[in-house]
């Protein structure tokens, strides 16, 4: 083990870890947007609106994220679109996680007892009012948990965008290895950074969940 090397490369890897964080955060926001649209589409009363959403979710969840990433990066040329690596990675991550998120959000909405909806509607609240002030606050606890799990999957999946040469944590690690020939040391440091990121997110989600549900159920 070469500890001086590990110490020297830490700043470089920290910088790259920041790229991992930003691309994951932006993909998370994009995913939330996609998921919201999908959930609204799936609750529509028209089949023409429901079906595209269902097909989208099924295809996104039924094919590997890695292949989707390659299609976004290399396949665009068939349409005359050439996305740069960062854009392609971000889009692939966001559009993919959006499909999973829509299922998570729908699941937590369905989990709220239907009596809540009926009671609220019979008290004169409109459909939108019921959703915003009755259903969503109760579904949010479960939603925090399942979206938290997905954000961890998102961070771990972000390592794959290194394949299309986005300079994030895994890519930077490989670049350092190609000049130092010390894979074990470099990967150990990047593994530690991933562990900090992922268990950091997990504890944040737990904290958020506890804080939110404290007022809800007691």
């Amino acid at each position: 083990m070469d500890f001086t090397l590990m110490w020297e490369i830490t700043p470089l890897l920290l910088k790259a870890a920041w790229v991992t964080v930003t691309i994951s955060v932006m993909a998370f926001i994009l995913g939330l947007f996609v998921a919201t649209v999908l959930v609204i589409m799936r609750s529509s009363s028209f089949r023409i609106i429901r079906w595209p959403a269902r097909i989208y979710i099924s295809v996104m969840r039924g094919t590997p994220f890695f292949v989707q990433l390659l299609i976004f990066y290399y396949g665009g040329s068939a349409f005359g679109i050439n996305l740069d690596a960062y854009m392609a990675g971000l889009l692939a991550m966001g559009l993919n996680i959006g499909a999973y998120m829509s299922e998570a959000i729908r699941g937590s909405l369905v989990a709220v007892d239907s009596g809540q909806n009926e009671a609220s509607r019979s008290l004169g609240f409109s459909r939108t009012q019921t959703m915003i002030s009755v259903i969503l606050p109760q579904a949010a606890g479960l939603m925090i948990r399942s979206l938290g799990v997905l954000s961890v999957i998102l961070i771990k999946g972000s390592s794959l965008v290194s394949i299309i040469s986005v300079v994030e944590l895994t890519y930077q690690a490989q670049r350092i290895i190609s000049s130092t020939y010390k894979p074990f040391e470099v990967f150990a440091v990047s593994a530690v950074l991933y562990l900090i990121l992922i268990y950091g997110v997990i504890s944040f989600v737990d904290w958020l969940y506890n804080r939110y549900t404290r007022y809800l159920f007691h």
């Binding site: 295809v59 039924g62 094919t63 590997p64 994220f65 890695f66 292949v67 989707q68 390659l70 299609i71 290399y74 396949g75 665009g76 040329s77 068939a78 349409f79 005359g80 961070i155 771990k156 999946g157 972000s158 390592s159 794959l160 290194s162 394949i163 895994t170 690690a173 490989q174 290895i177 020939y181 010390k182 894979p183 074990f184 990967f187 990047s190 593994a191 991933y194 562990l195 992922i198 268990y199």
Partner: protein, 218 residues
């Protein structure tokens, strides 16, 4: 826009052989991850501390870092210390060990969820500690774990695509090989996405049928 799927049809044997490899890898990695996961879970719960603590650390480490990083570490890191194993074996080991950690986590939860009365009843009927575990607790825990294990296996089938990165000639790498000859990235990636989708659908349907069949037996 110009699409031409004829190169895909002409090179379909390469894709079929790739599909064969993908299924082969998925099968052996699944066996490794399921058997290993159960052993790890049993050891962390009932084993001596010298064995259980390192295995807990193993679960923590492997669930907190990306698969890609683990594959690199296995492939290049072991090379650094002079252990050279072929890419295919590295792939099966890497994928199997990664999901072993996830399966162990599931098994641990379901093993703990089995009512204590089961153990007490079996023990008071004269079964030994090992017998109680083996004949009463483990079968029930496996049954309860099945839906989540099936989910993991579906995710794992998709994750075999990542092995192309370390040079395992499965579906993605075979497609990339043909792309370098034909310069048709979009068509080939779409084709393999379709293949993955079909494989995924087949696995999902058979897992559902299997669960239904078991349910009937109980």
């Amino acid at each position: 826009m110009n699409f031409d799927f004829t190169p895909v049809w002409e090179n379909i044997p390469t894709l079929i052989s790739g599909t064969g490899y993908t299924l082969f890898i998925a099968l052996f990695a699944a066996i490794l991850s399921l058997v290993g996961g159960l052993v790890v879970a049993l050891t962390t719960l009932y084993g001596k501390k010298i064995f259980s603590s390192p295995l807990r650390l193993f679960i923590w480490l492997f669930m907190g870092t990306p698969l890609l990083l683990q594959l690199y570490l296995l492939y290049f890191g072991l090379g650094q210390v002079g252990i050279l194993i072929p890419a295919l074996l590295t792939g099966i080991l890497g994928l199997g060990i990664h999901y072993m950690a996830y399966n162990a986590d599931i098994f641990r939860a379901t093993l703990q969820s089995i009512d204590n009365g089961q153990t007490e009843a079996a023990r008071s009927l004269g079964f030994g500690r090992m017998q109680t575990l083996w004949f009463f607790i483990v079968p029930q825990a496996i049954y309860r774990a099945l839906p989540q294990l099936g989910n993991n296996m579906i995710i794992m089938l998709k994750d075999t695509s990542v092995l192309s990165v370390i040079g395992v000639s499965e579906l993605v790498l075979n497609a990339q090989f043909e792309i370098s000859n034909t310069f048709r990235p979009f068509e080939f990636y779409i084709a393999i996405a379709v293949i993955y989708y079909i494989l995924n659908l087949m696995l999902e349907t058979s897992l559902n049928l299997f669960e239904k069949k078991l349910e009937g037996k109980r």
